[in-house]
């Protein structure tokens, strides 16, 4: 094969592609629009911070003589924090009816009615609280209810500790041995809270940051673009030359079918690679995606290799698609629809965890998703080589097989086109 002929196709196709406004829109602008929408609308800044609940309170407690009363509950609500963020935005109401009205209108998420003698009952025995949770949706009800339950549980625990300490003062130490005192105190604490569970968060750090999510979607945008653009380039590579009337002239030159096919595949890979780099640069510098890539880290080289694999795979799939189309317009429409559909259904654009079980099978067995997931795991979630090796091998073998079939199809089509 002659390098000059292959280079001629690569240069020619590259110039043509990036001078065509429609191609530039689909290959560059469209994925960037999606990224911006994702970064600033679907995952807006602040999404990864703890949520603050809007809560209303009506305080009917008038028991100032007791150490604990309604005001202490209000202060505890106002001071509650999680990771430096206030958990409750407290609004005081004069009347229960007004509070319920605001819950119904969605102005507050929940309301607490502190009853008369709250402090007295809390100090001397057991008190009650009326809690109203806005039920706008199942998820919001679940979250709001959980947050308030957790708060009241913690408030109860603190009050219990105080009450136990206070009660222990009434047991005369000079008559009761210290060991017995400790057993009694332990028993009382057990009554207040029989199980003292500890909770430790072990969620992957990368999954919960907004930057990592944008990184996830940045690679998803590359996968999506590769799917429809690769299918498009692959399905129209020869058809376009034929439709323009250039195929006969090219093959009347010393150019061999292999040089033509190889040149076309290489030019497709080059265009898709440039698109990928543009999306990554935009994702990182404009949308704030968290993506790590260092040429000094061997496992990071999996990302560019998988990009080439993904490009080859989609171009090969495009060549198979070309068997079903008769015009460049038809091929473009079919490629775009099919590419977008595959991106949405195979876990490339939407996380597969969102899908019903039967749909996850599509993602589990899609080589394009393997390649995209390998890239995500390595440069977004900093996985090691061994963690993604199964994806890498699977995607590479699939790409080789599909590309080999594609080259055979191209050869068959060339013969068919020339003799038509």
């Amino acid at each position: 094969m002659r390098a000059s002929a292959i280079k001629a196709f690569v240069v020619k196709d590259f110039k043509e592609t990036f001078r065509d406004k429609v191609a530039v829109f689909w290959m560059i602008a469209w994925p960037l629009i999606w990224l911006v929408l994702t970064a600033y609308i679907f995952i807006p800044p602040g999404t990864d911070r703890p949520m603050t609940m809007r809560i209303g309170l009506v305080n009917y407690d008038v028991s100032p003589g007791f150490p604990v009363n309604g005001s202490i509950l209000i202060r505890a609500l106002e001071e509650a924090e999680y990771k430096g963020v206030k958990l409750f935005n407290v609004k005081i109401y004069e009347d229960k009816a007004l509070l319920l009205e605001d819950i119904k209108r969605g102005r507050i998420d929940a309301g607490i009615i502190i009853p008369e003698n709250f402090g007295e009952n809390l100090t001397l025995g057991q008190t009650t609280l009326e809690v109203y949770v806005g039920a706008r949706s199942i998820q919001s009800t679940q979250i709001n209810r959980y947050m308030l339950e957790r708060f009241i549980e913690e408030f109860s625990r603190v009050v219990s500790e105080e009450k136990i300490a206070w009660a222990m003062k009434f047991i005369p130490g000079e008559y009761v041995p210290l060991e017995v005192l400790e057993v009694v105190e332990g028993f009382l604490r057990g009554l207040a809270k029989p199980v003292n569970a500890t909770f430790t968060e072990v969620l992957p750090e990368a999954l919960i940051s907004r930057e990592a999510w944008i990184g996830w979607y940045t690679i998803g945008a590359i996968g999506m673009t590769m799917l429809y653009s690769g299918l498009n380039i692959g399905s129209t590579a020869l058809l376009e030359e034929r439709q323009r009337g250039c195929l006969h002239k090219i093959l009347a030159s010393p150019t061999t079918p292999s040089e033509l096919i190889f040149g076309k595949i290489l030019s497709g890979i080059l265009s898709l690679s440039i698109t990928s780099v543009a999306i990554i640069v935009f994702g990182v510098f404009v949308c704030g995606a968290k993506i790590h890539w260092s040429p000094l880290r061997a496992e990071h080289w999996i990302a560019p290799i998988m990009l080439l694999v993904l490009a080859s795979l989609t171009l090969g799939m495009g060549s198979i698609l070309s068997l079903m189309v008769k015009s460049v317009g038809g091929a473009s429409n079919l490629s775009t629809s099919l590419g977008l559909m595959l991106a949405f259904l195979t876990g490339i654009w939407f996380p597969r965890e969102w899908f019903p079980a039967w749909m996850r099978i599509l993602a589990d067995y899609s080589p394009a998703t393997w390649a995209v997931d390998a890239i995500r795991d390595v440069i977004v979630f900093e996985a090691g080589l061994m963690e993604v090796v199964h994806y890498v091998i699977g995607a590479a073998l699939a790409a080789l097989a599909v590309l080999a079939v594609g080259v055979m199809i191209y050869r068959r089509m060339l013969k068919k086109y020339l003799e038509k």
Partner: protein
């Protein structure tokens, strides 16, 4: 004659249809060889086989002393398709450089050659403009320039002036006559008989995939037409049949061809025959709109061989 192209018994079938049927001819260096015939005669298929784009089912092609599939031989030939094979988003220069790269001509050499040819086809002002803004004629000229980038020893032109206006056609003819060279052979397919006559040293007339006549244009006319043609047109087209029947009484039917409401009579002695025809037609009541003696053309050769016209002459 040094032979540039030797075609022997070439046959190509597409399913049940035989597009080219046992065609044989030679083309010498320094010669322009015309393939004349109506659409569907098999010219483009024949040309595609000579250019090595499609393979024949039977027969042999020897080009420049070798096998056309040989890349070294292909590097010395070029093919100019009927419709401009150009990329609209590339400039004129970029198109030429792309095609020259396919022939291994790259870098400065390609750029200089492209500039020279752009100038030669009169597109200097448009060299760096995208082809999508070119007119049809400009594209045809650039298409021709692309076929000259490798200075081919065999140039194959498929209907180079189809769709052009008369002025543009003459410009292309002028260009082709300039590139004619003693070390270059040119094969040109056309359905314009005036083009075949103006450009070709020898012509092969094709019909239904076969060469039905071949030779120098004057020889063909002499062999298959006659010294002169008496062309008769009528006021009333219905008179055509009546006139033909009257003339058949004393002329050979094969010397009378009725076409498009007129009659052409092939004769070696028109001076004697013309008054006689006028008188005889007057006697049978045929009203003649015009009667004149004209020189035979290749169209007449085709007419006499097939009874059909190649096509309406443009311009």
């Amino acid at each position: 004659m040094r032979v540039a192209v030797r075609v022997n018994g070439l046959t190509k079938r597409f399913g049940d249809k035989t597009a080219v049927d046992k065609v044989s001819f030679n083309v010498g260096f320094g010669e322009v060889y015309g393939l004349l015939g109506p659409n569907g005669a098999g010219k483009s298929t024949l040309i595609s086989m000579i250019a090595g784009v499609i393979e024949p089912d039977e027969g042999t092609i020897e080009v420049l002393g070798g096998e056309v599939r040989d890349s070294e031989i292909r590097a010395k030939i070029n093919y100019c398709p009927q419709n401009p094979a150009l990329y609209d988003d590339l400039t004129g220069l970029e198109n030429l450089i792309f095609y020259s790269s396919l022939y291994g001509i790259t870098g400065r050499r390609a750029l200089e050659k492209a500039r020279e040819l752009i100038k030669r086809v009169g597109l200097e002002g448009y060299a760096n403009k995208p082809v999508k803004i070119y007119s049809g004629g400009m594209k045809k000229r650039l298409n021709l320039a692309a076929a000259l980038m490798n200075e081919p020893r065999l140039l194959i032109l498929d209907e180079p002036t189809t769709g052009m206006d008369p002025q543009m056609r003459r410009e292309v003819w002028q260009l082709l006559s300039e590139i004619k060279d003693s070390d270059r052979a040119i094969i040109i397919s056309t359905h314009y008989m005036d083009e075949a006559e103006a450009l070709s040293d020898r012509v092969a007339i094709m019909d239904s995939g076969r060469i039905i006549a071949e030779g120098k244009t004057e020889d063909l006319k002499r062999s298959y037409a006659s010294k002169s043609v008496i062309s008769i047109e009528f006021f009333n087209p219905d008179d055509q049949q009546k006139a033909r029947e009257a003339l058949c009484r004393y002329l050979e039917p094969r010397d009378i061809v009725a076409i498009n409401g007129s009659i052409r009579v092939y004769s070696e002695d028109p001076d004697t025959l013309l008054p006689q025809i006028s008188l005889d037609l007057f006697k049978v009541g045929v009203k003649i709109a015009s009667i004149r003696v004209v020189k035979p053309t290749l169209e007449d050769v085709f007419l006499r061989l097939t009874g059909r016209r190649i096509m309406e002459v443009e311009g």
